[in-house]
Amino acid sequence: MCPPSSSTNCDPEVVIATTTGFALKNRQKGQNFVWGELSDTGELEFVIENLPKDRTGCPGWWMFQKMMEHFGASIVAVKGSWTYGDNLVTVNRLTSSGVMTIAEAAFQGPTGQYALARGFVNVQVVQEDGVPGTYSTIIVRFTK
């Protein structure tokens, strides 16, 4: 698999590629990978990382794209389970002042943006632990 031309230090290796699983790791960066699993109902759950944030490695958007291409039309919903990271930070920032609901804020983070770009325009909040601005866990489900 060829890395995106704009990237540096991206040496991708697909380590899982089945009808229900896809995992890609960057051999050059230890905290850079995506791992997705598709349930029998078509719900995609995934973990994606590119740390540290030093503008190197395989970009998140590109790994997400490869995962979505792998599963294709089988995906009915994209699940986001956020306990740390940019998605949770975004939701907390945007809900702390009451500017947005969780559902609205969910589309502003990286996963929401990736999902939206692929036609997943609806979101359902499945779980919220905490209060606006300091949520510790958010689980959402994006659908078309």
Partner: protein, 100 residues
């Protein structure tokens, strides 16, 4: 994927049975995988294999680092993983075959 063998995974379960916290077990997996530079995908895969965790259940590991620099600290990762490990106990905590 760099997977530990079945006997080693069982030793990790024993550590947990003997009151080790999930973060302590994670550090041991990191050590067994070659130290701090091990790939996080391998860490994730081995924790899932040891404790029958779903991907979502194991996902907080991405925010944890063995040197304490991760966004999630030990107490937080323990708080996420312990309920999941206990929920799935029937899947990984099987009686050991007795020696004949």
């Amino acid at each position: 994927m760099n997977m530990l063998d079945a006997a080693t995974l069982e030793q990790l379960r024993d550590r947990y049975r003997n009151q080790a916290t999930p973060s302590e077990v994670l550090r041991e997996i990191v050590r067994l995988l070659g130290g701090q530079q091990c790939h996080r995908l391998d860490l994730l895969a081995n924790v899932r294999a040891a404790f029958a965790l779903g991907l979502g259940e194991a996902s907080p590991i991405g925010g944890w680092s063995p040197d304490g620099t991760g966004e999630l600290k030990d107490a937080q990762i323990d708080g996420f993983l312990t309920p999941a490990i206990e929920k799935n106990r029937s899947l990984w905590d099987r009686p050991k075959a007795s020696a004949v």
